[in-house]
């Protein structure tokens, strides 16, 4: 889901912290750099949760606009990454919830229920299989797996979900099992 060169390791936390502080102080170049550094990872995260590549850009934009507005209120710049993915997760879950509500009031015709991905959206058997398997999971479990893929620790995820580390491990185990059951590259 991400390349190792883009992932911030511990040694770069200070640099990231400085960059976040500059962005908080109103440095637009630093803010822009933050967006550029994280846009691809957030896009992947959004796609994993929503399963729709045509909504990736819109949702990613919503997430980063929220980030720009809320960044001055972030008290711990070193925890920026964890904070950003919590923001992204909550935005995606809210989006799916609103979509579900909309469908209750405006029921779609059967032919509109599962609109296929745009042309060229699914370009390999592995990706197709993963998308299919993720679609069988609950949105919250997809978000959980996406957070793990993003390198979030169990403790960070527990904080995000306001639950215990043991509960995160148990849910993660179930989500992985469920994903494995549906992840087969030769069945569809």
């Amino acid at each position: 889901m991400q390349s190792n060169d883009t992932r911030m390791d511990e040694s770069s936390t200070t640099t990231l912290g400085d960059q976040v502080r500059r962005a908080q102080a109103g440095d637009e170049a630093a803010m822009r750099q933050l967006i550029v550094s994280y846009q691809n990872r957030v896009a992947g995260f959004v796609y994993a949760i929503t399963g729709r590549s045509d909504s990736v850009e819109d949702l990613a934009q919503v997430i980063f606009v929220k980030m720009v507005r809320a960044l001055p209120r972030l008290n711990a710049p070193e925890q920026f990454e964890s904070w950003l993915f919590r923001l992204a997760r909550n935005t995606c879950i809210d989006h799916l919830r609103r979509q579900k509500l909309r469908r209750i009031f405006t029921p779609f015709a059967p032919e509109h229920e599962n609109v296929p991905e745009p042309d060229g959206a699914v370009d390999s058997e592995e990706l197709d299989a993963l998308r299919f398997a993720l679609a069988q999971l609950r949105p919250k479990d997809r978000a959980l797996l996406a957070l793990v893929q993003e390198g979030r620790s169990h403790a960070e995820i527990a904080e995000t979900l306001r639950t215990s580390v043991a509960a995160v491990k148990a849910r993660l185990h179930r989500a992985r099992e469920h994903l494995r059951q549906h992840y087969t590259t030769d069945e569809h």
Binding site: S3, R32, G44, V46, Y47, A48, V68, E126
Partner: protein, 90 residues
């Protein structure tokens, strides 16, 4: 790297390819637009219009209720005068 890891990487790469060039600039523009003084001015204008409407309704109501009260009082005075005349006639 197993096929699932490959798939996750492809998923990330595919999602990243959906972002059109200039994404960061558009985000900054949107963030600036939605928190600009223009928006604050827009809300202030809405609040002022709502205030004016409320004041107009209150003024109209106070005017009509004063006129109604005067009319009612005149009616009661007339009835009182007629009652007095009747009492005197008896």
């Amino acid at each position: 790297m197993n096929t699932e890891d490959t798939a996750w990487n492809e998923l990330g790469a595919h999602a990243a390819s959906r972002l059109s060039p200039g994404f960061a600039d558009r985000v900054l523009l949107e963030a600036r637009a939605s928190s600009s003084p223009l928006l604050v001015a827009h809300f202030a204008m809405c609040a002022a219009t709502a205030g004016l409407c409320l004041a107009a309704v209150a003024l109209y109501r106070s005017g009509t209720s004063a006129a109604d009260e005067a009319r009612n009082l005149a009616g009661w005075s007339e009835i009182a005068a007629q009652t007095q005349e009747l009492d005197q006639g008896l």
